[in-house]
């Protein structure tokens, strides 16, 4: 019915991504940034002024930001009780599997930076798989690669 307020997120490489406010607010960090901007706005400024709704995320690239928002979009209704747990879990696993390793690494860092607890939890759990010795070493290399 009412049009949802859109927030523009600006990534490190300058590209912007538009998302609904509720989706962006999954990240407490973004939420704070939005709310601080609102507080600083004068009464005079009208709400249609798009410039005030741009959030600069200087540590996240567009590719990673896109993935993060994809996750947030799917989980935007987590607080309500209409959640189908199994379906959500399956989607989460699929999300992890679809993402390539280097992006997963950057995704972990982004989730940490943006302080999205549920995404951080999901990624942490999947950082080290229990499917055998070789797999574990492989996964450790992912995190190591982040360090190098």
């Amino acid at each position: 019915m009412s049009s949802k307020k859109m927030i523009t997120l600006k990534s490190l490489d300058g590209r912007t991504l538009e998302v609904e406010e509720a989706v962006a607010k999954k990240s407490p960090m973004i939420k704070k940034m939005i709310e601080d901007e609102d507080v600083m706005e004068d009464e005079v400024d009208d709400e249609d002024n798009d410039n005030d709704n741009v959030v600069h995320l200087r540590k996240v690239t567009y590719k990673v930001l896109d993935k993060v928002m994809e996750y947030c979009k799917r989980h935007v209704n987590d607080d309500e009780k209409v959640v189908n747990e199994d379906e959500l879990k399956a989607w989460d696993q699929d999300f992890i599997v679809k993402t390539d390793k280097s992006t997963l690494c950057n995704l972990l860092l982004a989730a940490y930076y943006l302080n999205i607890q549920s995404l951080l939890l999901l990624l942490s759990k999947n950082a080290f798989h229990k499917t055998g010795e070789d797999k574990t070493m492989e996964d450790m290399r992912i995190l190591l690669a982040c360090q190098q």
Binding site: L12, N106, S124, F128, A145, C146, Q147
Partner: protein
């Protein structure tokens, strides 16, 4: 710091071997990865160092073996993986009913040598009941510990554990492992007191 650590030592050797393998393979792979990931890394200049807290967060969800391996990867990982809180999580994960408060347990175990030691000595060997590892445990504990009490403890444990390797530990098993830890602690204490002609 000599040894009831014999089990941990075996584990360490295993880890070191794996690490060497990893390094050899890793040389080629890391170069490859770096070429692929150069683009990514260039785009994210702030991500050259993993935060300690982030590593800690990830380690919270890891099993004991992986945590052990992780401590061999780098200095930063080693420092983070030694954290007692992580090992406390690992130890207490499968304890259904501890029989006392968490805070109490924590203070007792930390006083007696810590969760990491508890795990490596008394929990890890019991959750991996391959006959060879159990026999090596009893032989190594009898060689390392001066008194015979620990080896006599290890023997009756064998049949119990072989039956159900991954069962959730009840109060009895928890008490047993804690008792063993305190026995070891007091053994060490008495041994050092025995020296100057008591």
């Amino acid at each position: 710091m000599k040894r009831g650590f014999s089990m941990a030592e075996e584990g360490d050797n295993k880890m070191k071997k794996l690490k060497v393998e990893e390094e050899e393979e890793g040389e080629d792979k890391i170069e490859q990865q770096q070429q692929e990931e150069e683009v990514v890394i260039v785009q994210g200049p702030g991500f050259t160092n993993l935060d300690d807290n982030l590593i800690f967060e990830v380690f919270k969800h890891v099993d004991a073996r992986t945590l052990g391996m992780a401590s061999c990867v780098s200095k930063q990982w080693h420092k983070t993986a030694q954290d007692e809180r992580l090992w406390e999580l690992i130890c207490t994960r499968h304890w259904a009913n501890i029989g006392c408060g968490n805070q109490q347990l924590r203070s007792v175990v930390l006083a007696l040598g810590g969760f990491r030691r508890l795990h490596s000595l008394y929990i890890w060997p019991l959750t991996r009941p391959s006959p060879s590892s159990l026999s090596s445990l009893s032989s190594s504990s009898s060689s390392s510990a001066p008194s015979s009490s620990s080896s006599s403890w290890a023997a009756p444990l064998k049949p119990v554990v072989a039956a159900k390797p991954h069962a959730r530990w009840g109060k009895d098993e928890v008490n047993l492992s804690l008792s063993l830890l305190s026995i070891r602690f007091y053994e060490k204490m008495n041994y050092s007191n025995r020296g100057p002609g008591r």
